[in-house]
Each structure stands twice: as C-alpha cells, then as structure tokens.
Assembly symmetry: C2
Homo-oligomer: 331 residues x 2
C-alpha cells in the first residue's frame, strides 16, 4: 500500500535512518541528501507514518479536550466553543492535534478511568470530578483544568473572576438607578454560583439594597426555562426593573419574556448577561454583559498543557482571568 520509509530509502540509496532524519530533524542531514530524500519521497507519495512514530517516541502529539457540563454538549455550548476554537488554533501552531471528547471516552460505565486513545495530555473543562483528576494524575497524565478550581497540589487551573464580574454587573444596574434587581441563576457549579451570587449581594449592599429573595430564581440555562421563569416574575405586583442573568442564554430567554409581555428593554426592564457570547450580539437590543476573554482562556489552556507535556512547569499553577463589563443597549 502506502510507501514506507524503507521504500524511500531504497529509492534514494540512503539508509532508513537518514530518511527518518531528513524528516524529523532536517538539520542533521546534509542539504544534498535532504533534497534527494525529499525527491524520492515525493515520487513515492511518501508521508511519515504518525502511528509508527508515536509508537517509538511514546508521544502522539494528540491531546484531549473534555467538556463536562450539564448545560449542553461540548461543541454547541456557546461559552465553550470559542475556547475550544482558540485551543485548536494553538494546537495547530505547536503541532498538536486535539480530540474533542466527552467523559464517556475516558470513563467506563463502572466509573473506572480508562483512556481509549493514547493522549499526551488532557484539558478538562467544566464540572470535573476530583476522582477522575486523581486517577489521571496517578497515570502521570498532564492535565489542565479549565473553568474550575480544585485544591490539588500542583494542578494547573484556569478560572474566571466570577465575583468581580458579577459585582460589576450588579453595580452597573444600581448606578442606572435600579432598586429592584432580580437575579436569574443557571444551574452551574456551586463554585461559580457562589462567587457570582456574592458579587451580586455585595454590589446591592454597597448601594444600600438587600436582595429580595422573591426576585432571585434559578433555572436550567436554556432559553425556554429562562423565558418561563422571568414571565412569572414579571406578573408580580412589584416586579423587578432589572435582571442580572448568569449567562447570555438566560438573558436571551429573559429578553424574550420581557418583550412578549409588551415591555421595552431597557426602558421598562433592563438586563445584563454573562459571557459575552455570540448571543449577546444576535439579540436586539444588544446585551450588556460580562466579558470573559475566552480566546485567551483557550489559548492559555493549550499553551500550558503543551508546556507541561514538554516538561516545563508553569511559574504559577493558578490563573484567574478578569471579567469585564461590556455595556450595550440592554441597560
């Protein structure tokens, strides 16, 4: 079938070691030899076999990107997909390929950790089980944890400053004069929820307000659930004049409820989202939201994982990315 290194060696009259070197470390071979090797390779349509190489090098140059969120699958998740995209760009730069997988590819039904395909490292995003991290580390698998912090020695985690992001969002609403500010939470990890809730409470307190628990609701982070929840809140006699929604999907659902109730955004009800995903610009009016630099996040995750694989320990094992308020027309 496909030509092998031996065919090329025969054809150009060099040994297979030389052919191997011509591809893997061109500088270790004379220029003349190199071009002869390449010529022979071209004629035979030869391409080095990555499997064979991986076999002897014990490195595949493949990493896995595993997203574990209840919300929606990996690729469709509007928060994670740009992160993945950025990680893939970084992978291309450093010659790594990325497998996008689910936990199922790493875990047997009985819970045992079992990596089907050989990987040089893993990016674990979302709600990660500590047990899995530990099992993986026992196998010496380099790991980067994304959007989640775990108290493990020497585990590289990238998180977001949820507290200040949420606080900025709520403060902004206070500054706009709102006194009745609802909160629409999604079902995210406890970690994220707590930090954002605290940010919200502290902002209100700073403005002399106390959270009205009737206006604090939790919903599945889907358009439909958000719309329904907010619809009901809107019927309250003393309804909120603003909502801080814990992500853009929730905010979009809220916007639909508001608009359908015949109210105007932001004149009657203002809303703020979180993530600055694509959704925030699809909406009209466009959504005021909290931006997380997802490009940076994905790039960083990939970079640090590659470094780890290549034996470079990062200076700090914990990076917290800032969250910045982006004011648009919805407030």
């Amino acid at each position: 079938m496909a030509a092998t290194i031996i065919d090329v060696a025969k054809r150009c009259g060099y040994s297979k070691a030389t052919v191997s070197r011509a591809f893997a470390s061109p500088e270790a071979v004379s220029e003349k030899t190199r071009s002869q090797v390449y010529a022979a390779a071209r004629e035979l349509n030869y391409t080095p076999n990555a499997i064979a190489r991986a076999m002897v090098r014990q490195r595949t140059e493949n990493i896995a990107f595993i997203i574990h969120e209840k919300q929606s699958p990996a690729i469709l998740n509007p928060f994670y997909s740009p992160i993945l995209e950025a990680a893939m760009r970084e992978g291309t730069k450093r010659d790594y390929s990325i497998f996008v997988t689910t936990m199922q590819d790493v875990q047997l039904p009985n819970g045992e950790v079992y990596i089907k395909k050989q990987m040089d490292g893993i990016i674990l995003a979302g709600e990660v089980d500590l047990k899995i991290v530990q099992a993986l580390r026992r196998q010496n698998m380099p790991i980067v944890v994304l959007n989640n912090h775990m108290d493990e020695e020497n585990l590289f985690c990238i998180t977001v400053d949820h507290y200040h992001g949420a606080r900025a969002a709520a403060e902004h609403l206070c500054q706009r004069g709102h006194r009745k500010i609802g909160l629409l939470a999604g079902r995210f990890s406890q970690q994220v929820m707590d930090a954002r809730y605290k940010g919200y409470c502290d902002a209100l307190e700073q403005y002399g307000l106390t959270p009205d628990l009737r206006f604090v609701q939790t919903a599945e982070p889907t358009l439909e659930a958000a719309e329904q929840t907010i619809s009901q809140l809107l019927t309250l006699p003393e309804r909120p004049t603003a909502f801080f929604c814990m992500n853009d999907t929730l905010a979009a659902g809220a916007a639909k409820a508001i608009l359908r109730a015949g109210l105007r955004i932001p004149e009657d009800v203002a809303i703020v989202g979180f993530d600055d995903s694509y959704i925030s610009r699809v909406m009209e009016p466009e959504l005021t939201t909290v931006r997380v630099d997802v490009d940076r996040m994905g790039q960083l995750a990939a970079q640090k994982l590659f470094d780890l694989i290549e034996g470079k320990e990062p200076a700090q094992m914990q990076v917290e990315l800032p969250a910045e308020l982006i004011v648009r027309r919805s407030t």
Copy 2:
C-alpha cells in the same frame, strides 16, 4: 511506566497472545481465562495501547472532520456545529474518535496534500477543492463529502435540497401577501447560491412577480454586514415588505436593522431565514426559517464513512436531505 501486555501476561501466567485476545476478542478465550486476565490487568492498571494496536492493525479508528468555509471556523459555525456534534455521537457509538481539523492539517502551504496523522477516513464539509478530493482518493482514503456535490465517480456526497427550501420560503412570503420580497444572499458556494436563487425566482414567478434586482443583495454572512445592507435597503422609497435571507445569521442581522429603523416584525417587514440554527430561537420574534435536519446529516455522514471504512459500499452515492419550512413569528 504504564503496564504493557507482557506485564499482564506474566502476572496472570498466560501468554501475551491470550491477553491480547481477552481484550480484542473476548469470545475467543475461555471465561475462566478471561476473568483471570482482567483481574491481572486491573491490578496493574493496564489499558491496551491504542497506538500499538493501530500499528499492527493498520487502522486507527480515528477519522477527521474537516470544515472549509469562509464564513467562520468549524466549531463556531452555527450550521456546522450541530452536524459535528451528531457525527461525534455516532462516532462514540461505533468506537471511532473524531479529529476536528482545518484544511491546514491536510494540506501543506505549497498545496500538496499531506495528512499529518493517520486517519481511517475523512468527512469533508463545505467548499471542498476537487483536487484535494482526488489526491485523497488516490491514497485510497475513504471520504464523505458534506453539503457539497462533486461529480466524481463513486464519491459519497450528502447535500441539501436548497432549491425547494428556498422556494418554500419565498412562496410562504407570497402567500402572506407580500409583493416586494427582497433577497439577502450570503457568500456561499456557487452551487448553494444558484439553487436557492432559482427557488426564490420560481416562487415569485409562480405568484406573478419578478425579482426586483434593487432588492437582491449579497453580503458577508455576518450580523454586521447583514444589518448594514438591510439598513440601506430600508431607506429606499419603495422598500421591500419582506426579506428572504440565505441563513439565520443574515436574518438576525436583518432583524436588527428593521427593529432599529423603528419598524415592526412581522407587521412592517417580515423575514425568513435558512438553517433553523440556534439563532432562530434566540431572536424575538422567533424566526421563520428553513430547517435542515442537521442531526441526520451529521449522523449519516459518520455512518456512511464508517461503512466505507469497513468495506460496505452504500447503495447510493448521493443523498439529498429535504429542507422544510418552519413558520414562526417573524412572518
């Protein structure tokens, strides 16, 4: 390091051939043996090495999913991401992993086709270069082409019935009584554009209308470009009362322009999109659009590719998926 088949063999007292069989074809081994092998494997934390297996089997059980569209990268593209998602689900079922890549991973800067990683097959989506398909086929690489038709002998292509989709959209607008129906095209492949344009023209003709070329515009398929284009059209003295937009992103941009001009949807201007992507439900009012069964498309692509890899030729090499009008509030 990690335990190998030999470690397991030693531990349980069988030969490595038997251990191999216990994992690769359990039915070829007595039950007693099998459980002893598994026990030893568990104790050693052994996992078969996929690389070594791929090496001897000459099969990786990996496929590549390559999307080539100008619009936006693979994963972020609202049309392709659910397709990818479905393909991945199918892959999990049949024990294949999927690499999401760009053309760069398959093509050298000089244009030569060069597959970096060993793959058992490739799904090529979007605007595919015939030369690449031919080069790949010369290397005996199983291929499925998605959302694009190519006149190649024995090449499996999955396409969409753009003509009838577009026609249904335009007819619907005619039925609603619109006489001035604009068309907002994106920069898609000629194939797609032609079919949809013809559908639009034929629908109009059926209702005794002729396309007014002032109302037929092409824009980059982005929110901003669409918004700008439609804004201008709206200032025309005799502006259209409805727009058929060639995808949901364009429709969302159009909606923004309409709303910002102080007009109502659908009372003043109606819009129809194409794809039935996530965007159509984020918008308010929700978008009337043409649905393509993307789940089916992704699943089919993966299934057929796996069949091809496993030597089963599909009965027909060409599948055209229907496109169905979904009426929502925007018309």
